[in-house]
Symmetry: C2
Subunit: 193 residues, 2 copies
DNA sequence: GATAAAAATTAAAGTAGTTTAACAAATTAT
DNA sequence: ATAATTTGTTAAACTACTTTAATTTTTATC
């Protein structure tokens, strides 16, 4: 199991000794996902939180008209999952699937609770992770309220320069909240400037 | 100092003994805000996290055209503040002011860090608070992507039936991401049904 | 390497939501 | 109580973005 990335990620926030590290690793499971394979479907219970060590995934909904809306992308070094379904063990409203062949490390709710009990420092770790995610989401909400589609697109590529290359325009437009047609129009307009 | 509400709030998530409770309370300060008074302005450092024991506040930005966009309301039993500015001690991008005469309990970063050190259980408490906030924000992002203005309005009043009565339509429209004129049109249309 | 399937482009018509402006109603200040 | 200010309403013109549909380009599959 390739745990280097997750251990390095954790050590940026809290210090673990050897025993704690080994205990944590013992709670993880590896899973590989082929492109287009689902990690979670609407109606499923989200049984694990998932740390991405390789690849790219998306969390999205499908509305009544069949359109997809992406609430987040996840790449290496990020956590994905439906936190609400995970915590309450109720059916998820989200789909999660792989946009590239991917590899994740999984931890179940039972094991995460064990972890919090045995190594309470992890409460801190997940608090810090959540803080960052909360701040990023708040910024996105503000931009959805105050920016035009063009501004949101420019901000997206500025903030995630490497990510855009890994995504189709269709995925980007589903994240920005516009149609693929309009994103294409925007891009032409911008390239003519 | 009226600490009943905050202690009750905390006890829903973690158990505190008398000493811990007293220590926590010793770190708090009370502040009263008159209607329209600012708790934070763009460019200020956010020096405290704030628990509302009475009243109603809003966190918002003002865009280049002078329009206000509300990222969250806060009422009794909620925390407000600019978490990013608070954590990094960098200038805030948000304004926070009182929509009603309000009363809050404040804790500084120094005292919060002291609290985490002396009573690590509070790491858990804030993790749980953040989890709920994260989930709520994710739902809002999804709705901003997939719902029409009418659907967002109906969802808002369904989800916060008591809150709408305390807000002007102008505030509601700034939260929904539409103009006050259009909200008025929507309301007429809905009342005619 | 050919074929099928999906993604991107372009144009033209359509619509949800904005803008402006004038007025009415409600709230706040004196 | 009155005046001043802010909020809400209505209508009409406007615009950012959508929809539909046809064509081209790219990617996936056998």
């Amino acid at each position: 199991m390739n745990t280097d990335l997750i251990i390095q990620n954790i050590s940026q926030h809290i210090h673990l000794d050897k025993t704690e590290t080994d205990f944590f690793i013992s709670l993880l499971q590896t899973k590989k996902l082929k492109r287009k394979e689902f990690l979670l479907k609407q109606g499923d219970l989200c049984k694990t939180e998932n740390f991405i060590i390789k690849g790219c995934l998306r969390t999205y909904t499908i509305d009544d008209n069949g359109f997809e809306h992406i609430v987040m992308f996840g790449i290496e070094d990020w956590w994905v999952g439906d936190l609400y379904s995970f915590l309450t063990q109720s059916p998820s409203t989200y789909f999660i699937d792989a946009l590239e062949d991917s590899e994740i490390l999984q931890i179940t709710k039972v094991n995460l609770d064990k972890l919090f009990e045995r190594v309470p420092k992890f409460e801190r770790f997940f608090r810090l992770i959540l803080q960052n995610a909360f701040i990023a989401q708040q910024q996105r909400i503000n931009q959805n309220l105050s920016y035009s589609a063009e501004q949101r697109y420019l901000d997206f590529i500025a903030k995630h320069p490497n990510l855009e290359q890994r995504l189709s325009q269709k995925q980007v437009s589903a994240y920005l909240g516009i149609t693929p047609v309009f994103l294409s129009i925007l891009r032409r307009k911008l390239s003519q400037k």
